[in-house]
Symmetry: C2
Subunit: 337 residues, 2 copies
DNA sequence: TTGTAAGCGTTATCAG
DNA sequence: CTGATAACGCTTACAA
């Protein structure tokens, strides 16, 4: 390549990177040679030399969960704005697969990482910390103090879930169920806590029969949800703990021939893009997924610039999308204070 | 690293890769050293040396389009099964951004690529061909002969779309509109062709007023759809050309106060995971996205093994999901032959 | 204004 | 059975 332009390799490097003055004539010669040969600098060799890959890794159960798609979208957009590339690996919310995913991504020597930790992900986080890779935790904000060099960003969970319960209580429900995903996730724990607080402050006694979260191979989520309807005194309202659970609940409801909102009220954490367009129009707590993704990337870039930044934890509020999966809006208004 | 284990760097390399016999004692010494230092081989240096990165690139408008999420999911799963990593870039269905995306991914020296070409993507494909990167085209199968070293996989478009029209004609519709995405995409062209064939074979004259595809800045898709309802003789049935269009149509329908299926029948190309659970339950042509994604990866790996393979083009059939967005099923049966 | 040469961390060849 | 050493394709002092 240096040969075809008739110059030295360092000159080529300098014109590509604009890193020192080059006479117009030789610059043109090099540019022409690049054009004609279709030359593209080898990022691998460059990375080996400079120690930076201009790429960042993303590890989450990104693809099984439609809600995460919005995250990935926002993250990709923000990253590519800076000319960085995105390396993606799915953790399937399993600590072991997560560790493997992180290991693989790390081998590519990404400059930074964004991880939606699956609780029990000490192995993966330890590895990240050991290798001193700037990391942003997203969605699930661990309660324990953050490791050095890590930030976290996610949504508020407890109070908004309590508000969902408030809403159901206001319109007269007291047999309220909670259907959550994997109970080891910090988001689930916080939402469940909010659920209990909601019951408490509305004077409703908690009934553990109405709380189900996580699935096991022997008793998977669908079966757990179905059990709710076989109770002697079944729930009249359900709080779905996330996107996936909402779908699961709807499936079981259909299987049992119950309609929303006529037979049972449903509110959910996480919104759907199409929630307005199809019936039942779900009343939901909508996460600002776009902003969370965008800010996660920004925080990462800030940390890339200054690796000694203090660890930061950011919580963003979700917004209450009031639709009619708890019954027609008119009915609610009647009950409101 | 070699020092801490008290051996040479080549020995370390050989124990990591199991590439020649090492005495149990030294092997143990090396393994211990790896363990204690948390050493992780530098993939960058390795790649520079071996010329393979164990990563493959994916360029599609992956994230704006929910339907593609299923592709990405399937692709990621299949790739990680082989221990490869996934580098992702969004093309936003724009040739220029696509070229940039491909360039960036190429700089990372991925071993192969999967691309959902945005028609007009000659630049990107030329670059791929010039750099001799094994490439699989997915979703949009170009009609022209494939470049050397490229395969293509996608769904059948024309006949299935004609079947959608058959269905509408059978239950008595003759004012049938087609709402398609970007008309430059091969999928759109094929589906539109199928739409026309469907009209033809059902003895319905095509009315160009009822065909809208692609949006321009001056006349975006929502406006185009809205115009359909302002016609003197508006459509009584609509064929949505993909996922996104289905949502757009539903939005406009709501804006105009028309209900599905009571006021207008709707069928669509592309299915939704939740289509069974919410009303209207959409009658749809469901793509085997999982299989397409999986086979795309398999084809790529085959080509990685043998770069002189003949170019292959694979078309998979979608399945007709008959639900009730054209009116209750009973009504249809009455009209069926 | 440009060229020379060292070195990034591996793997592969060749000796021993 | 293991160790030197060259080479992968860049960037960056340093020299000219």
């Amino acid at each position: 390549m240096a040969r075809v332009a008739g110059v030295s390799s360092s000159t080529v490097s300098h014109v590509i990177n604009n890193t020192r003055y080059i006479s117009p004539s030789t610059r043109k010669a090099v540019l022409d040679a690049i054009e004609s040969t279709g030359y593209l600098a080898d990022g691998i060799a460059r990375s080996l030399r400079t120690g930076t890959t201009q790429s960042i890794g993303l590890a989450m159960s990104a693809l099984s969960n439609t809600y995460f798609a919005a995250f990935v979208h926002a993250i990709e957009k923000e990253i590519s704005r800076s000319g960085f590339s995105l390396v993606l690996a799915d953790t399937h919310d399993d600590p072991e697969r997560e560790a493997r995913a992180v290991q693989e991504i790390l081998a590519l020597r990404v400059d930074g990482m964004i991880v939606a930790p699956t609780n029990g992900s000490v192995a993966a986080l330890d590895k990240l910390a050991a290798h001193n890779v700037p990391t942003i935790l997203i969605d699930r904000v661990p309660p324990d103090p953050l490791r050095r060099g890590m930030d976290a960003i996610g949504v508020e969970n407890a109070e908004p879930t309590a508000q969902l319960v408030d809403h159901l209580a206001e319109i007269g429900h007291s047999r309220i169920a909670f259907v959550g995903p994997n109970s080891a996730l910090s988001t689930t724990r916080e939402r469940l806590e909010g659920f209990r607080e909601g019951l408490r402050r509305n004077g409703i006694e908690a009934d553990d029969e109405l709380i189900t979260s996580g699935g096991t191979p022997e008793n998977p989520t669908p079966a757990r949800i179905a059990q709710l309807f076989d109770l002697e005194d079944p729930p009249t309202a359900i709080v779905a703990g996330n996107n996936e659970m909402t779908i699961s609940v709807m499936q079981q409801l259909r299987g049992h021939g119950r309609r929303v909102p006529d037979d049972v009220a449903l509110v959910c954490f996480d919104d759907f893009e199409w929630a307005d367009l199809f019936a039942p129009r779900l009343t939901a707590m909508a996460q600002p997924a776009d902003e969370i993704g965008r800010r996660a990337v920004q925080m990462l870039f800030e940390r890339l610039k200054d690796r000694d930044l203090e660890s930061r934890v950011v919580r963003l509020p979700p917004t209450f999308e009031h639709r009619d999966s708890c019954g027609p809006a008119a009915l609610h208004r009647r009950h409101r204070r």
